[in-house]
Structure formats: structure tokens, C-alpha cells
């Protein structure tokens, strides 16, 4: 497979696999570190990330249950009270 020419050893498809969450966890962590030092890969991820993001919003809409809303908000409110009482 063709590789980038700036000395980067990553496969060209690595950014695509990364934005699709197709890397193993450890591989993804390593690639994230690589992105800090490789402008070429970082640019590739920046190009492809919005496409992956658009997939998230392309699914058939279903409504979350009232129980789910209530259960999340009950936890949030109780944590907020604790934090505010602690003066956080």
C-alpha cells in the first residue's frame, strides 16, 4: 500500500480505520500519539472525521424512553447537589 512521503510509516488507510473506530484499542492509542507529531496524518484524520461523524446522524430515528431520560436526570441532579453542597 502506498505510504506518506514525509517519513511517516503509517499505511494510508490508517486514518480511515481510525475515524471508523476500526483499530484495536492499543493501536488507536498509539495512532493518537502519532497524530501529535505527524501533520500529514493529522490532516487526513481532520478530512475524514466529519464523514465518520455524518454516519452517526444517518441512522433511522428512534425515541429514547421517558424512563431513560428520568433515570439519567435523577443521577445528574443528585451528583449536582453533592457537588454544589461541597462548594465545588
Amino acid at each position: 500500500m502506498s505510504r506518506f512521503e514525509n517519513g511517516c510509516e503509517e499505511e494510508r488507510g490508517q486514518a480511515a480505520a481510525y475515524v471508523l473506530s476500526a483499530l484495536e484499542q492499543r493501536e488507536a492509542e498509539r495512532y493518537r500519539e502519532h497524530l501529535d507529531g505527524c501533520a500529514r496524518c493529522a490532516a487526513e484524520v481532520a478530512r475524514l472525521q466529519p464523514v465518520a461523524d455524518s454516519l452517526a446522524t444517518s441512522v433511522s430515528p428512534v425515541v429514547a424512553s421517558d424512563e431513560l431520560r428520568a433515570s439519567v436526570m435523577a443521577r445528574v441532579r443528585s451528583e449536582a447537589e453533592l457537588l454544589n453542597a461541597a462548594g465545588a
Binding site: 481532520a46 464523514v51 441512522v59 430515528p61 429514547a64 443521577r75 451528583e79 454544589n84
Partner: protein, 201 residues
């Protein structure tokens, strides 16, 4: 319920007028009422994604609950330069769904289309914004479906199925490089179709 000192400014009517980014600032100060509006705006999208990926209502609900609580707890880390709140929420929901799929091995028995009608709960089209979103969703679906089938397949297995490139390569009996190459070509082509704006750096 004890009232915090800022409650006066935080009626739901006022909060609803705020943009997500402004609400997240309040969330980073532990304002539950502000979080409730963020939740109202994005919970259906997050649940739709988790349900599409996991295919089981109860497990998808667990995943969305975890994702939203993580959003609440790490709200201070939201950085608006890195994208919209919606994409951030959906990113967390996606990540958690992938974890659940890999951890619980629920993939073998899921089949969304076979679930009872009572499970389908289609969302009504309530607002203009919702109608626009549906249109955009349709465009993304077409862009994905119109790719060569081999590209649609690997993108679908990775993004919605939570499979790694190694698993996909084994499943399709292909070299890993080919799988990644198809992912890249497919995403590039979709990008062209969807006229995605250049990333702001």
C-alpha cells in the same frame, strides 16, 4: 429540593434559548438544569445510534445512560473548537457502543429488523430542524449505499458493527491493507458527495 444560588437565572425557558456551547459552560459548573436541555436536544440521536449499532433496547439504553453521564461528568473538557456538542455526544455514544459490542459479544444475536413492532418507536417529525436533519440523514445514507458494495461493507462493519480491521479482514478473507484501503476510498468518495466543509485548524 435545595436551590442553588444561580437558580434564578436558570429557568428552562431561558436555558432553551441558549446554544449548546453556552449550556456546556453551565454544565461545567455543575448546573443540572442546563444539562437537562442538552440531554433533551441530543438523547434521541444518541439512542438512535446506539440502538442501530446494538440492536437491543435495554443494552442500548445502558450505553446511552453511560455516555450521557460521562458527558455530564466531563463537560468541563468540552472544547468548542473541536466540533459541535452534538458530534461530541454522538462520538461518546459511538465509542461506548463499540465498547459494548466488543465486550459483550452481542453481535451474533442482534437483528434490528426482526424485533417486534413495539420496539421500533419511530420518532415523529416534530420540527423544521428535525425535518432538515432527516433530509441530511437521507443524503448520508444514499452516499453510503451508492459506494461500491465492497466499500459500503467495510465501512458498515467497522462503524456500525464495531468490528476491528483485523476481524473484518478475517471475515472477508482479505489482506488488512485492502480493508483499510477500501475504508479510505469509501470515506473519500462520501466526502466528495456530501461536500463536507474543510476542517478548521
Amino acid at each position: 429540593m435545595p436551590r442553588s444560588k444561580r437558580d434564578v437565572d436558570l429557568s428552562p425557558a431561558k436555558l432553551r434559548k441558549l446554544a449548546d456551547e453556552e449550556l456546556m459552560e453551565l454544565v461545567s459548573r455543575n448546573e443540572a438544569a442546563a444539562f437537562e436541555i442538552v440531554l433533551e436536544r441530543h438523547i434521541d440521536a444518541a439512542f438512535s445510534l446506539a440502538y442501530r449499532m446494538i440492536g437491543r433496547r435495554a443494552l442500548a439504553e445502558d450505553v446511552v445512560q453511560e455516555a450521557l453521564l460521562s458527558l455530564w461528568r466531563t463537560g468541563a473538557r468540552y472544547d468548542r473548537s473541536r466540533g459541535s456538542v452534538r458530534n461530541w455526544v454522538l462520538g461518546i455514544a459511538h465509542h461506548r457502543s463499540v465498547d459494548a459490542l466488543r465486550r459483550d459479544g452481542v453481535r451474533t444475536s442482534k437483528d434490528v429488523s426482526d424485533e417486534g413492532l413495539g420496539e421500533r418507536l419511530e420518532a415523529p417529525e416534530r420540527t423544521d430542524a428535525e425535518a432538515i436533519r432527516r433530509e441530511e440523514a437521507g443524503e448520508v445514507r444514499s452516499a453510503l449505499e451508492e459506494l461500491p458494495a465492497e466499500q459500503t461493507r467495510v465501512i458498515d462493519l467497522a462503524y456500525f458493527g464495531g468490528f476491528t480491521h483485523t476481524e473484518i479482514a478475517a471475515m472477508l478473507d482479505l489482506p488488512i491493507g485492502t480493508v483499510k484501503g477500501r475504508m479510505r476510498l469509501g470515506l473519500e468518495k462520501m466526502r466528495g458527495r456530501l461536500s463536507v466543509p474543510e476542517a478548521v485548524e
